[in-house]
């Protein structure tokens, strides 16, 4: 029993890392841009399919698709922001963006289904089926890789957002566009790049997903609820909070899975969501700014 729990814990931490990566883009859009991006999981799977194509046509390691997908997604993100999101009225950006991105998600799903058909695709590598054993606990290599890729991506993201000039300009742009323009920030370009960075994380996440799970065009629906729950529990908009919540929920899920069952494990995401709402509506780690009167 103890070893089972340890195993659950270890898997939970690794999976949590993956969740953190997948949710990071979401909380970036939200935290920095007030956009609820329902289409993020759809983009994840778009990236997974592209990785699949690169992998099958050139027979290379899926991670070698990243030099293609990351810049591509960055450009795509810039385009989406400049052409679509930027046109939404700021008064109800949060809500309209839900519907807009919902439409985008459907569009992507339809295109994927048309191009790749509805059947399952998967990318399997030799190393992805082996595991590292530490004292009776098995750590699958694919999950370890996913975890480190996630950690690395998040570190880069954090550095970019919090430390860099670009990150400051981005946050300034979102908080007060006119004021940002007046201190010399090229706001339109910056907002576009911000969205691009978010989608670039989707490119990385998609590649990792492709490596560890089979997928089909409608797969993204499954992820929306989970990822959204993570960013609410973490505190909408806090990239760090989302990462912590992701690990927390990953561990809870892992432990519940090995002790109870899968239904309850998935349920945990929503239980935590509602608990967070009742106890701390601003999220466990977020909500630094109360409303001023």
């Amino acid at each position: 029993m103890v070893s089972l729990l340890l195993q659950g814990l270890a898997l939970g931490v690794l999976t949590g890392g993956l969740y953190a990566l997948l949710a990071s883009g979401l909380s970036l859009y939200f935290g920095v841009m007030r956009v609820v991006m329902v289409a993020h999981p759809a983009f994840l799977f778009l990236a997974a399919y592209l990785t699949y194509t690169v992998h099958t046509t050139f027979g290379v390691d899926p991670f070698l698709a990243l030099p293609v997908t990351v810049p591509l997604f960055f450009a795509l993100g810039v385009a989406v922001q400049r052409l679509l999101i930027a046109r939404l009225a700021p008064e109800n950006l949060a809500m309209m963006s839900v519907l807009l991105t919902f439409g985008i998600a459907l569009t992507i799903e339809g295109l994927l289904g048309t191009v790749y058909t509805g059947s399952y695709k998967s990318v399997s590598m030799e190393y992805a089926t082996r595991s590292l054993s530490v004292g009776g606990v098995h750590l699958p290599y694919d999950k370890i890789i996913a975890f480190w890729v996630a950690a690395l991506t998040l570190a880069v993201l954090f550095a970019v957002l919090v430390k860099s000039r670009f990150g400051q300009a981005l946050r300034a742009t979102i908080q007060h566009r006119e004021a940002a323009r007046l201190v010399g920030v090229p706001t339109e370009r910056v907002a576009g790049y911000g969205f691009g960075v978010g989608l670039a994380t989707a490119a990385v996440g998609g590649t990792v997903l492709a490596l560890i799970t089979p997928f089909f065009p409608a797969s993204h629906w499954v992820w929306i609820g989970k990822l959204m729950a993570i960013i609410v529990v973490g505190g909408l908009g806090s990239v760090v909070g989302a990462a912590l919540a992701a690990i927390l929920l990953g561990v809870v899920e892992g432990l519940v899975l090995v002790t109870v069952d899968a239904t309850w494990a998935t349920m945990m995401f929503y239980v935590f969501l509602f608990l967070a709402l009742l106890v701390r509506p601003q999220g466990l780690f977020g909500g630094r700014l109360a409303h001023r009167f």
Partner: protein, 329 residues
């Protein structure tokens, strides 16, 4: 103008009542009933979304609960269907009050997310609670009118849904011109300000949430006895919830007939896309693009486009010189 605005709804109502007798076959009655069901649901969605601006993508949770509640009461307890329908709607409303208390604590985007979570959660519960609900094998509800053949059943339900739609419209209209409605709109505009003016925002929001859940639950209950098979994945689907939102937005959330108009457009259009482009999944893309276009170009809906824009405040025409003259001693 006045006659048009009074007469049009009457004409539409008359057409709606005559519809089942005008169409050549029962399939169209069936399709009509489905459209009216959607219209009723999006109108009741609009009781929350239109007034308070709280966008719920998860109203299918109440649809599903209403359906399962009714179905379970009929199947497991042998309650007559009308009683089951009402009892389950009341139970769902009570449940919605509970959920509402937690859910309306968050605003804007978080609320959307919570509503999505609600559907997923209900789906898990109903799917997992196999002994009660039948789980993934679904629940089969016997037809309430064994004596009628299928087409006649469609006719009956067409009118039942029409009645529900009428009640929902009436309710929306009544709320829209009441103090309660004004309070809800104030919440949409500025919650803290509303609160400081003495509007108990929490109670109002929960009331609106529950009211809108009530009608959706009734629609779900009717659906259960009409349709007869319930499957958790499909009644608790985010898509059904999004349809309510899409229809309301398309028609215009600030208008009584907005969601109705939206339903009359979206339901047949969805059918059309499926038939015209159904060979591949490109029809999803078509739906998605329509949604994107609506959001981009008609964020206030068709009716807002049609009705003329409010005139701005009158700019005083006198010149500053004239003003100066007036104060000259």
């Amino acid at each position: 103008m006045r006659i048009a605005s009074r007469g049009l709804p009457l004409l539409v109502a008359a057409l709606a009542i005559a519809y089942p007798w005008l169409v050549p076959n029962y399939y169209l009655v069936y399709a009509g009933a489905l459209t009216v069901m959607y219209a009723a649901m999006s109108t009741s969605w609009n009781l929350l979304g239109g007034f308070t601006g709280y966008v719920s993508l998860g109203h299918s949770a109440f649809f599903g609960l209403g359906a399962y509640g009714t179905g379970l009461l009929v199947v497991r307890l042998g309650v007559p269907w009308v009683v089951a329908l009402l009892v389950s709607a009341v139970l769902v409303t009570v449940f919605a009050v509970g959920v509402g208390i937690a859910a309306v604590r968050v605003r804007g985007a978080s609320f959307v997310i919570v509503s999505i979570a609600l559907v997923s959660m209900m789906n898990l519960v109903v799917q997992g609670w196999r002994s009660l609900t039948g789980g993934s094998t679904g629940l089969q509800v016997p037809s309430p009118f064994p004596g009628l053949h299928r087409g006649e059943t469609h006719m009956v339900f067409f009118y039942l849904f029409l009645a529900l739609l009428a009640v929902a419209l009436l309710c929306w209209w009544h709320v829209s011109r009441s103090r309660f409605g004004a309070g809800l709109r104030a919440i949409r505009e500025d919650e803290d300000k509303a609160e400081s003016l003495g509007v108990p925002t929490g109670a109002y929001k929960v009331a609106a949430f529950a009211l809108s859940a009530l009608f959706v639950a009734l629609a779900g209950g009717l659906y259960a006895v009409w349709f007869g098979s319930l499957d958790p994945i499909f009644v608790f689907s985010i898509l059904i919830g999004s349809y309510m939102v899409l229809m309301s937005l398309l028609g215009g959330v600030r208008h009584l007939y907005g969601p109705l108009l939206g339903a009359l457009i979206v339901a047949p259009a969805g059918e059309y896309f499926l038939i015209a482009l159904g060979e591949t999944q490109i029809h999803l893309t078509a739906t998605g693009l329509v949604l994107v276009l609506v959001v981009l170009f008609m964020p206030d809906g068709i009716l807002a486009r049609l009705t003329r824009r409010r005139p701005g405040p009158s700019i005083p025409d006198e010149t500053a010189d004239q003003r100066l003259q007036k104060v000259t001693p």
